[in-house]
Structure formats: structure tokens, C-alpha cells
């Protein structure tokens, strides 16, 4: 196995594109190294992207934020503005693992690991984030919900890496929230995850919303019907009931060691409602 740690994206892309065998990007390694130790993957080339400064920065851009794909959870939390602007996304990223894992784990890795249960991905989807990819054929932008196709299957082509996420500018009275269900309090993988981002008008009516569910289908979902259920409402009882129903209707989960189909569908509705209410409360103050 060869290990490389280039300091530019172009060099990284070149290495990845040129490898005849199995090549893997290494960000925090909290997925990759675990998989290598347990013989799930045995790459011929590992390209460490932590030395590439562009991938390690959070910058303000077009009224929003551009977050490098290799920024760690701990860095997101400590950023001067991000936790206030995107509390739901930051809390989703910060649910990953423990304090030790937080010092390594990145949103780029969380997305590119290709798990339907990744915690920060519904947060990014709800936020309406756009990923910037860099590959041998240059740069392109993709909405985050279009990147993961199926478990371990991504829309990335050979040699392509995720460079950053653009979080859009948002109007006043906007906020977000992320909740996940795990049987324990931490160190567990989401049985269901739900991110909600919304904007209120001065009267408190919801004018825009995005709802995303994780761990209830082969990929994290953007649930447009759930968003429609609350747009134009003040999240009253009827709207929330519709939201719950839409969230449940979108679920196509499996029975596995982490939960049953019935349980996941039930809980998806519950989390959607609870997350929407938290986002609403935050938006009123934002």
C-alpha cells in the first residue's frame, strides 16, 4: 500500500486518477481506517487530503458559507458564526462518534463513506447544500442529495473528490434542526435521522422548508411532500400531522439489526415533527 499526502487538490486528483489499483481518499480516517483494519477494503493507494488547505477552511461566500470537505466536526463547532447560522447541521456533524472521533471526522468523509445512516448528510440536504467536486475533468457542482445513490455507491467518477459544501445565504427567521434515534445516548448509528430547515415570515408562517430523512431508505432522502406539509402554515396541529404522514410515506426502510421497518417508519414521523418544532423555535429567534 502506498500513502501520499499532497498539498493541492490537483495533485490529489492526479494521484487518484492515475492509480490502476484501488485508490481511497483519507480524510479523518474514522471510517476508512476501521474498514482497512477489518479487511473490508485493502487499498493500493491512500491519498491523505488533510494537508490541502482549501479543503480545511470555512469561508464566507455569497452571503453563505463554503465549508471544506475535510473540516472536522470539532472545527465546525468552534467556528465563530457557523453554529449560530446552521445549528442543526453543526449538531448533526457533532453527533458523530465521541470527542475523540470529533477531532478527526469530517462531513466529506461522512458523505463519501456512503452510509444511508450518516448523520450529517440529512443535515446538509435539509440545508440545501451544494457540493463542489473536483476531478480529472475539472470542477462541477452537485446538490448533496444527488451524490449518494445507494449504500456505498456515489455519483463521483474515478479520481473525483468532494472539495467543499456551499451553504446558501438565508433570509432572517431561518434555522434548522437535526434529530436522530439511537437506542443509547451516544456511540451508536442512527436508526432514523431527520434534518429540517425552514424560514418563517414576520407573522410566523413558514415560507420555505426542506426536510431530509436518513437511515430509512437506501440513501438519505429529500422529502418534498413533508416540506410542503408545513410551508404556508404556522406548524399547527394539522400541518404537523401532515408532515408526520409525509415523512412516514417516504420511508422505504429495511429490517435489520438496528431496527424494524415498522419502528423506523413510526419514528421517522415523530422525529420529523420534533425537529420541525425545534427549527421553528430557533427560527423565531434567528
Amino acid at each position: 500500500m502506498r500513502y501520499e499526502a499532497p498539498d493541492t487538490i490537483d495533485a490529489a486528483v492526479k494521484l487518484l486518477a492515475g492509480e490502476a489499483g484501488l485508490a481511497r481518499v483519507l480524510a479523518g480516517g474514522t471510517d476508512l481506517l476501521v474498514q482497512m483494519r477489518s479487511d473490508v477494503v485493502s487499498p493500493d493507494l491512500v491519498v491523505d487530503i488533510k494537508k490541502i488547505s482549501e479543503l480545511r477552511q470555512v469561508k464566507e461566500e455569497a452571503g453563505g458559507f463554503r465549508v471544506g470537505a475535510a473540516v472536522t466536526g470539532a472545527e465546525l463547532k468552534e467556528h465563530a458564526k457557523l453554529p449560530k447560522a446552521w445549528p442543526g447541521l453543526v449538531e448533526a456533524a457533532n453527533l458523530i462518534g465521541s470527542t475523540q472521533v470529533q477531532g478527526r471526522a469530517t462531513m466529506g468523509g461522512n458523505l463519501c463513506n456512503g452510509s444511508p445512516a450518516a448523520d450529517s448528510v440529512p443535515g446538509l440536504i435539509a440545508a440545501g447544500a451544494t457540493a463542489t467536486l473536483v476531478g480529472p475533468n475539472g470542477r462541477r457542482d452537485l446538490k448533496v442529495e444527488d451524490i449518494m445513490l445507494a449504500p456505498r455507491k456515489l455519483a463521483l467518477t474515478k479520481g473525483e473528490i468532494v472539495a467543499s459544501f456551499l451553504l446558501p445565504a438565508r433570509p432572517a427567521r431561518s434555522s434548522d434542526a437535526y434529530l436522530r434515534f439511537i437506542p443509547r445516548t451516544e456511540m451508536d448509528i442512527a436508526v432514523v435521522g431527520c434534518g429540517v430547515s425552514l424560514t418563517l415570515d414576520p407573522s410566523g408562517t413558514c415560507t420555505a422548508a426542506r426536510v431530509s430523512l436518513g437511515a430509512v431508505a437506501a440513501r438519505p432522502l429529500l422529502v418534498e411532500d413533508a416540506a410542503k406539509a408545513i410551508i404556508g402554515t404556522k406548524l399547527n396541529h394539522a400541518a404537523l400531522a401532515k408532515l408526520e404522514a409525509a415523512a412516514r410515506a417516504a420511508c422505504k426502510p429495511i429490517d435489520d439489526k438496528r431496527g424494524t421497518v415498522e419502528f423506523r417508519i413510526d419514528v421517522a414521523g415523530v422525529l420529523a415533527r420534533r425537529a420541525a418544532l425545534i427549527a421553528q423555535e430557533r427560527a423565531r429567534k434567528a
Binding site: F181, P183, R184, T185, V191, K257, R258, E262, F263
Partner: protein, 769 residues
Amino acid sequence: MQERVKKDPEREFRVVGTRPIRPDGADKVTGRAKFGADFKMAGQLVGKVLRSPHAHARIKGIDVSKAAVLPGVKAIVTRDDFKDQGSEFVPAGEMLVNYRDVVRNVLAREKALFEGHPIAAVAATSEKIAREALRLIKVDYEVLPHVLDAVEAMKPDAPVLHEDMITAGVTPPPTKASNVAKRIEFVMGDIQKGFKDADVIVEREFNTKPVHQGYIEPHAVVASVSEDGSAEVWVTTQGHWIVRAHCARLLGWDISKIRVTASEIGGGFGGKTVVYLEPLALALSKKARKPVKMVMNREEVFRASGPTSGANIWVKIGAKKDGRIVAGEAILKYQAGAFQGSPVQPGCMCAFAPYDLENVKVVGYDVVTNRPKVAAYRAPGGPISEYAVESVVDEIAEQLGLDPIEMRLKNAAKEGTKAAYGPKFGPIGLVEGLEAAKGSPHWNAPLGKNQGRGIAAGFWFNIGGETTVSLQLNEDGTLSLMAGTPDVGGLRASLSMMAAEELGVDVAKVRPIIADTSSLGYNFLTGGSRSTFSSGMATVEAARAMIKEACVRASKLWEIPLDAVTWEDGKVRPAGDNAGKHEAMDLGDIAKIAGKTGGPIVGYSAITAHGAAPSFGVHIADAEVDPETGKTTITRYTVIQDAGKAVHPAYVEGQFQGGAAQGIGWALNEEYIYDDNGRLENPGFLDYRMPVASDLPMIDTIIVEVPNPRHPYGVRGVGETPIVPPMAAIAAAVKRASGVRFFELPMSPPKILAGMKAVKANGGAKATT
């Protein structure tokens, strides 16, 4: 928050009952302590095990030829390297082992009986080469149908694991082999008559899952066999004399040639009372003529070691309107795993032990299944049967409108009660524990929304056994203490304290170690909550022998008769007519004259410790159940238990809290999940959900002290009882929080949510799942 409830005005202790810093503490918090995987030897090889991918398969052939020629491979062992053993049961901890089965568990012979069953072992110069060698070993399997569940395995058409297994304990003996190794029965009084007298009868069926001991430190060993056939072993174990015995037996070597040193142990809970890697490491080392180190990874620990039984339990209890129990009956079916020897017998004996009953019948079945062979796990068998019985007691109390503590007080076993399993209890502390629970702040605190409170009692026997302790008086008056029961929970601190108490010295002057098997007389393993009781008894005896010798030396020095010398307040003093004629001498003074008065002074005790006394516990649990997700949070928890005498209260509390923590996991989330092929799907702590620290509330403790009259300081074992009551206490709390009574463990969120939905669907009618 620590409270104590004492029964008798007791002897005044100077050291016992205080909380000095543990002698092994500094090395543990700095990382200097050596655990199993920390031993290294020059030139050591890496040993790895090839394991069966099938739950049940005949092994038609094992071809190691390709692996053997891989450069770097130094030795390979298979079933052919171990002589077969006849069927013979010997005691090991609180369980029995049969060497016919031990040899087969260490390396499969005719069949692989569970996924993870060792097939071959390789020693190589690197981990990478060892792993590559495993890939090169070709095993010809004939895959067979498998069975995982005890009830399934008892069916007439179930796949049979052992073609020669004829159920014992049934007359006439069956003519056909089955998976039922034995049937046992305990009967007292006449249950028919008892049930006839009952005003209320509740009958329930329960199911529990196997749970792993969950020790953080995986099994690890280094073995080095010399050209002359002598061997050294460093290993993480609860009993190095047992390791020595098993290895000598399986390899056909003299016991004296194997010297075993126990490392610091990162948890055992019963699971480190058996051998897995040790005989393989020795056999590989002998072949390779090099030291061999073997360390399991977490997956191997889950697939091939532990756990305790999963079980199916049926319980029927009849009571009068006033709560007095008139009859109790139970049928227990315990999974043994691949080889017979589940803890169903102690399960049967424990089932009704907390109660003073006239009519009891308990029947147990030991059933083999295609899972790893069960190993002891704190109070083996007890938590399972007592969970079921305590749950039915709770339900009866509810039906009769009685307070669950009052119901138990009405039936509680006391001194003189004849236990259903035979003996009469001596002084015991169940009533004191129930009274302490009743008066505790926890029992009387208000509950919040969606919360419920449950209580349950628990019992464990505790054991004594062969024990040796040596206490050396050093030249400067300090003391070196050698014990042989591995220290799993603060033993060295407690032994130093007992020696210091007896000898009148500062506890810091006593330095204890766990000695190796060639340095000290025989010691049975640490198990059965016996180490503080037995090694403590031997320590006190060794100290008393030293005091006697100190008196002899003083009488020599002073040239006065021995009976004119006494030991008082930590000093030898001239007595009677000679009182005041000579300066009293403490041990430091005696140490200085040891050489010229007869030589080094050693207090020694080699005993079979008798008089172990049971410990009863009472747990109070508060559970909050999220009505929309079924998630249970334990919001408050109190353990009340009789310690006899708490030598080091902090370590007694630690045992209480640890048992409760493990019980919370057992009750709520821990389970083995298998796929259709009998392969374990969650062999790791991510999906085998033991509680993490933030899942637990502060676990409060109340130490009850009803002294054990047969221990010099009144000690009872405390290590196992704490895992007995949690499951029933939590089930009762969940019932009150959710409105639904559950009869299956774990009470994981999907089950609780489904149970609550079913109640709603019934229009709120009382439902059970």
C-alpha cells in the same frame, strides 16, 4: 451517596471499613499496569486462529500444506495435535467442565458447532503472514442445518449437535440422542396442594437472550515452551491455577512444568474462567520453539467466548389475598451453546431462593445449540430465573393491590428458612435490605411524567474453596503479601487492609501481589464472589500465624516462656509476672531480630475456605419511557445489598454499581443477532449495545451489613448478587411507565413501541406482549 445499615453492634475496626487508595491504582491510571496483551518476549511469534464460518458443519478434511510452506509460518496446529479426552466433569468456578468438550471447544474435532469455532491455529513471524496463512488453509466442510434457540433445539426434528447425547436425569433414559443434555428437578412440599389454597395464581412465559460479559480487555496470552519441556505462560485470567490444570491436561504435560502468571485483568465477570487460546499458544510454541503471543480481536471475543445463556422460562406462582405465597413452580430451558453445561442448575436453585416457601417445584433443561459455549457470567443462571420469578411476584403484588416491598417482606427468607434447594439459611440480610429500601429517599421520591418505579430482590450463593496466602515480614518491618486469586475488583486493597488490621500496621506498609502458580500453593480461581472472602480468610490466618511466630521470637529474645508473651495493639508484650520488664515490640522490632532468633518470618495459610454465606440484594429502578419512540431511560437507580462486612466500601459500591450497569444493558438493549445462516451480525460494541456512561444515572448504593459469622471479619461475597435484580426491577418500572408488561428481554425500543401501540389499538385495554 453512601449509606450503611448495620445489624449488630460490631467489633471496632481500625482499617477495615475505611477507603485507602488501592495499591494497583497508580499503575492503572498512568497506563503502566500490564494487561494480557502488554507482555512481549524477544523473538515472539504471532498466533492466529482459523474459525468456522458455519454454525454447524462436519469437518471432512483440513489441508494445511499450502500454509505450512508460506515463508514466515513457524507452526500450525489442528485437531490432530491434541489427544482426544474422555468424558469427565470437573469443577471450574461455579460451573462444571468436561474435558471431552474442552478439547473440542479449543479446536473443533468431528464438527464445527458454531460460527467462530476454532479449526486451526498458526504461528508466524508477523500478523500479516499469520493472516495470509489462515487464508491458505483449506477446510472441507459439509454444512449441516443448525439450531440456535433452546425451545427449537428441544423439538424432536431439530438438528442434533452431538449424536451421542442421551438426556441425563430422565428415567428410563431416552433411546434417541437429542440436544437436551440433562433434566434436573428440585421439589419441596406439594405444589398441587399449594395452588389449591391460592386466592390468585399468575402464570407467565419469559424469554431472555444470551448476553456477553463485555469485558473491555480481550483474551490474550504469551506462551513460551523451552526445549526441556518446561513452559511459561502470561495470561489474562480469573484463575491461573485453572489455566495450568486445563493446559496440562489437554497437552498431557506435568503440572509442575507449566508456570502461569496472571496479568492485570481488564474485566472477566466469569468469562475468563475457561481456556481458549492458552493450549493453542503452548502447542504452537512447542512446535515452533519460540514464544507465541495470541490476542483475540473483539469480533473473536463475541463469536467464540462467553456469553451466558439465553433462556425460555415458565413460572407459575400462587398466593393468598394477603400476599403470602403458597406455591411456586418454574420450568427453565437454558441454552448451553455448543457443549453441555449451561448454568441451569444454579438457575433452578436460585429461582425462589429469596422466599420462605413451603411448596416449590423447579425443573430445568440444559440444551445445546449452535452458539459459542456459554461461560460463567456473574451469578451464572441466577439473573435469568430470578428475573422471571420476580416479575411474577411483582404482577401478583399489583393484582392484589399490595406494595411490592410489603409483598416481599411477607415472604422473605430469614435466618432459619429452609431454602427450596436444600440448606437452611444462617444469618442473612434480605429483610434488612427490604426495610432499607422502604426507608430510602429513592423509594419515597416523586416520579415525573412517563416514569415508573420498579423493585426486585436477588440472591446468590457465594463460594469458598482452596486458597493460599503467604505473608512475608521484610527486614525493615514492611510486609509483602502474595495471594493467588486474580484481583478483578480491588482485592489487593482489601487483603492489605485485612492484614494491616490484624497486624496493627499501617495499610501502606503491606504490599500485595498476585503470585504465579510456581510461587505459591494452589488457588482455585476468582469466581463465586469468593476472593475477598477466601483470600481474606487466608490473609487473616496468615497474619495470625505471623503474630504467633512474633511471640515465639520475643519469648526467645526475652528468655521467658511463650505463655508469658501476649500480642496486644500491634505489639508483642511481656505478660503476667513479666509485664513491664521488657520493652514491647512491634513488627518492625521483630523484623530486626528475626535472623538471630530463628530466621525469616513468614505467615502462611493454605486452606479450603468454608462458610461462604449468601448475599441478598434489593434494587430500585426508575424508568422513563418515551411514549412515541419506546426508548427507555433509567433516570434513577439504587442498589441495596448485604455485604456482611464491607472491607473497602468503595469497592463494594463498585461491585453494586457495576452489576446494575450490566443489568441495565441486559434489560434494555443487549442481544446477539444472528442471520439465517447462524452467523452473528453484531460482533462488536457498536451493535451489541452495552450501556455507555451517559446512558446511566448515578447509581446510588446502600450497604447492609449482617455479618457472616463464619468469616473472621464477617465478610460475604458481593460480586455477583448485583446483577440478579436489575432485569425484573427495570421490567416492573417499564410496566408502570408505559402501561405494558413485557415478558421478553431485551426491552428494546421497537418492542416497547410495538407493545404500547398494541395497547392503544385495544382501546387502552390492559395488554401484554
